[in-house]
């Protein structure tokens, strides 16, 4: 199994909290890898919220190719974090040349671009870099987005964190998502490591999606360049989230109606029966069929958690105003937010979507049986 931990905090915190919480839950994962997603960054990135940050792993040659490529398209380095690692990596961790976290200045001609044009272009560049890297096997690119840093590596999460010295001020963030364990059903590949990210939407998942193949086929056939990869079955959750929000204009409260729709009898009694029936029919190929617990992050920095229809995976949300955590197990929550009212901890069940908004003041629970907000 794998274990998930996410935290949203008013004040930027070290990613080590998440990785230590992960370590508390170590009985539940095999320590074969770690993925980290940081957003709403503190430290030096606080001042450059709009600058796109490239996260990835590069060989010496890949780094030179990256520099040439970025120069050619007019991107200038604005700020970078240098991660110096000991000569010998811990057991099971491959030797890498460069873990890159670099913020760029947009090219001047991008000044006229609309927000959505910029987002499309950023995606395009990330995919281009990924393709270049896959061709020569010299770059792995996780994200290229403002105010977002991602790190993934094979190995025991805590050992990797110590090795990369992640407990540094530059990496403090208000939103942190961490996942322990590589996806081992498919070949070990960093692109199969959670969390997954596309255009501001991130998610990580516990459990295997049994409907992966038809869902992947459906997403691939949407003709959207970002819907690619799928080294892990869990990447589909991120893309479905992106699809429902950006292409269908639906709110997060509708996400669960897409991936785990209500049964017909419940839909018939629902206030939005007409809409839900249409969604269930036209998005039928996106029904996940579990067993999965999904934790995700939206562009407005909200964190959310949903369970599959059978609720076969663990997941709990708790905290106090100003700091909330989402964890696979209560022990992870206890470690990260010990000073909370435990009676308020909430384990979402088969109908719930739990959301902690950008204000981080409360846990809101949205039940599938409730009416949906009006469509925008």
């Amino acid at each position: 199994m794998c274990r998930l931990f996410a935290m949203t905090s008013e004040t930027p915190v070290s990613p080590m909290i998440a990785l230590e919480a992960m370590d508390v839950m170590r009985e539940g994962h095999d320590g074969s890898g770690v993925g980290l997603f940081l957003r709403d960054l503190g430290g030096p990135f606080e001042e450059i919220k709009n600058a796109p940050i490239l996260s990835g792993i590069f060989s010496e040659k890949g780094l030179r190719r990256l520099d040439t490529f970025m120069m050619d398209i007019g991107f200038m380095t604005k700020y970078k974090i240098t991660i110096k690692v000991p000569k010998i990596p811990p057991p099971g961790v491959p030797k890498r040349d460069t873990y890159l976290i670099r913020a760029y200045e947009y090219p001047e001609e991008w000044d006229d671009y609309s927000q959505s044009d910029r987002y499309e272009k950023l995606l395009e560049i990330r995919l281009q870099l990924r393709a270049m890297g896959e061709e020569k096997r010299d770059m792995i690119v996780f994200s290229f987005w403002p105010d977002v840093i991602m790190l993934k590596e094979i190995g025991d999460p805590l050992q990797v964190a110590n090795y990369l010295k992640l407990d540094r001020n530059e990496l403090h963030a208000r939103v942190i998502m961490a996942q322990g364990r590589q996806n081992t059903n498919y070949a070990i590949n960093l692109y199969a490591c959670h969390p997954f990210f596309i255009q501001g939407y991130a998610s990580m998942t516990n459990g295997e999606c049994t409907a992966f193949t038809p869902i992947r086929e459906f997403l691939l056939s949407r003709n959207y360049p970002g819907y690619t990869g799928y080294q892990s079955d869990s990447e589909i959750f991120t893309h479905i989230l992106h699809y429902t929000q950006t292409r269908l204009g639906l709110d997060i409260s509708a996400y669960k109606h897409i991936i785990t729709p209500l049964q017909d009898a419940a839909i018939a009694d629902h206030a939005n029966a007409g809409l839900l029936k249409q969604l269930k029919q036209s998005c039928r190929r996106l029904i996940i069929d579990g067993p999965n617990c999904v934790i995700g992050c939206l562009p407005d920095h909200s964190l959310f958690m949903v369970q599959d229809r059978k609720k076969l995976r663990p997941g709990v949300v708790g905290g106090r105003p100003g700091r909330y955590a989402f964890s696979s197990e209560v022990c992870g929550l206890d470690y990260a937010v010990p000073d909370r009212d435990k009676s308020q901890d909430f384990q979402p069940m088969h109908l719930d979507t739990v959301i902690v908004g950008p204000q981080r003041q409360e846990v809101s629970i949205c039940n599938q049986m409730q009416p949906l907000p009006p469509l925008h």
Partner: protein, 544 residues
């Protein structure tokens, strides 16, 4: 026959026939039931003269002889009366004195069954047992990575959609703007395929309808049944149960005068309209109801004179292309019911099926495509069409689905598979295989006849006389002396039995795969086969 008599080319001995009647003189009571019941008059009362020789035990005694007469059963060897192996004689024999046995070598009858220049026609399926569907197994079992579900405990939603589904973006837009959204039916994925009123006896048809009504009304299973090309009884057209019926229109348009005139009086819309362009059992050939079966009732429903053969043309005479067909027929059928009823074509599986499917993708009205493979059954067709014409269903369905995936319309046009589903009794496994290859649901007719009414037909050419109206079970006969053998209520009960059993078996397949909230359409990663080339062709796993 005398040893020096002339032999005609078609003179056969019992040995030359596919079935030989074994008759036990010592058990036979000479009651005559077997000869009375034989649907093809293959046996008759025989009067046998037998020479009896008496040999004296005295050394000087002379042997003498005399003649005895005894009565029994004689098997006819005239090709027109050859035994079909139905074994109804055995069924009625009070002493188990009679049994047809299959010949130990290929029969010679096959060379003589075209007398008068008429090639053999028959009912049933392609006379080739086996098939690839039974070789495919479900290999993606949920083990420790994800828990297997419990077929008896977890909730399952095994429904499929019949109708044109809009892409999600367009669907939401039309929903918000009150645009026209094509009608979509949520139905059970196993449909009773088109078997016409006429091909089937009134008792069989009524039994099926009763079973379907019970499944819907009492058990909440949205099972649908297609009428086949033969119209629909007027009372059913005007009843609320019409919503469980898919009305079929085919190239003979039989019964459609009655249907069109009933539209203003319909209290419910039919589930859908199926336009039959082809049938898997006899691709490129039209429907056929032979004169034996066209009695007054059938003639009235179909709007034809009684006692004449009713061959439907191979094509719809008013249509020359798929474009025209779609434009004319699909849209006018939509119009007839105020755009509230899905309309979809049914074709026989063919290497040209992709062209049809591609055309349908470009028409916003096409509600789906039913493809009928070479193993489909029929009430009447030329033997050559059944045995040698047609395309296997598996590759057609797979190609069709992958083709839709390529254009991103796999959810928009449901494909329904038919033809040999449950041919070897493995209905649920075959259905699940086709669904995972990409079908939205399956249609079956023959299995229903076998399971719900005891049809004896087989792919080793047993019985298969649906065409002549002498069905020994009363399933495909219009003779009240035959069809009264079939108890309507019992047929309905068997329909319910087989659906409930299918439902449980399907759950027993899906639960270990970890699927329950949606039908696993296109879940090809679950399929494996030990035939390398078949695996390559179907894009599924090769496992040994």
């Amino acid at each position: 026959m005398q040893p020096n008599a002339t032999i005609a080319p078609s003179t056969l001995s019992v040995k030359d026939l596919p079935w030989q009647i074994l008759w036990h003189k010592d058990k036979c009571t000479l009651c005559g039931r077997c000869t009375a019941v034989c649907p093809v008059n293959a046996i008759e009362l025989g009067v046998f003269r037998k020479r009896r020789i008496k040999v004296s035990l005295e050394p000087q005694g002379n042997p003498s002889s005399g003649f005895d007469i005894f009565h029994g059963i004689r098997q006819k060897t005239d090709p027109a009366y050859a035994c079909v192996g139905c074994a109804t004689c055995s069924l009625v024999c009070p002493n188990d004195a009679i049994l047809p046995m299959r010949s130990d070598e290929a029969d010679k009858l096959r060379f003589h069954i075209n007398r008068g220049g008429q090639p053999r026609s028959r009912g049933g399926r392609r006379n080739v047992p086996g098939g690839i569907l039974d070789q495919i197994k479900f290999i993606r079992i949920s083990m420790l990575t994800d828990p297997a579900l419990d077929a008896g405990r977890h909730e399952f939603e095994m429904r499929t959609l019949l109708g044109r589904i809009l892409p999600p973006e367009q669907n939401l837009k039309f929903f918000n703007e009150n645009g026209w959204i094509p009608p979509v039916r949520e139905i059970y994925p196993l449909i009773i395929g088109g078997m016409s009123f006429g091909a089937l006896s009134p008792n069989m048809w009524e039994g099926l309808q009763m079973g379907v009504a019970y499944l819907n009304e009492e058990l909440g299973m949205p099972v649908r049944m297609c009428t086949g090309e033969g119209g629909c009884p007027p009372r059913l057209l005007r009843s609320p149960f019409l919503k469980y019926v898919i009305l079929q229109i085919a190239s003979g348009y039989f019964g459609w005068d009655e249907i069109i005139h009933a539209i203003p009086e319909m209290v419910e819309d039919p589930c859908a309209i199926e336009i039959k362009y082809g049938q898997g059992a006899k691709p490129g050939d039209g429907g056929l109801l032979m004169w034996h079966k066209v009695n007054k009732l059938i003639a009235a429903i179909r709007g034809v004179p009684p006692g004449i053969s009713l061959p439907s043309p191979p094509t719809h005479q008013t249509q020359y292309s798929i474009e025209e067909s779609v434009a004319k027929m699909i849209q006018s059928m939509y119009m007839a019911w105020g755009f509230r009823v899905p309309v979809y074509p049914k074709i026989s599986a063919s290497s040209t099926a992709m062209a049809v499917l591609n055309n349908l993708t470009r028409n916003p009205y096409a509600a789906g495509l039913a493809i009928d493979g070479e193993d489909g059954g029929t009430g009447a067709a030329y033997n050559v069409s059944m045995d040698h014409m047609g395309h296997p269903i598996a590759t057609n369905i797979r190609d069709g689905y992958l083709n839709l995936v390529k254009v991103g319309m796999q959810n928009e046009i449901p494909i329904f598979a038919g033809g040999g589903v449950g041919k070897n009794g493995n209905l649920a496994a075959n259905a699940a295989t086709l669904i995972m290859l990409g079908a939205s649901g399956v249609q079956t007719g023959k299995y229903i006849m076998q399971a719900a009414a005891g049809c004896l037909g087989s792919e080793t050419d047993r019985c298969n006389i649906c065409n002549i109206g002498r069905c020994p079970r009363g399933i495909t006969s219009q003779d009240p002396r035959l069809y009264r053998r079939l108890d309507v209520e019992k047929v309905a009960e068997r329909v319910v039995d087989l659906y409930l059993a299918f439902d449980m078996e399907l759950k027993k397949i899906l639960a270990p795969l970890g699927r329950s909230t949606a039908l696993p359409i296109g879940m090809s990663d679950a399929l494996g086969i030990s035939d390398y080339y078949a695996a390559q062709r179907l894009s599924i796993k090769y496992v040994v």
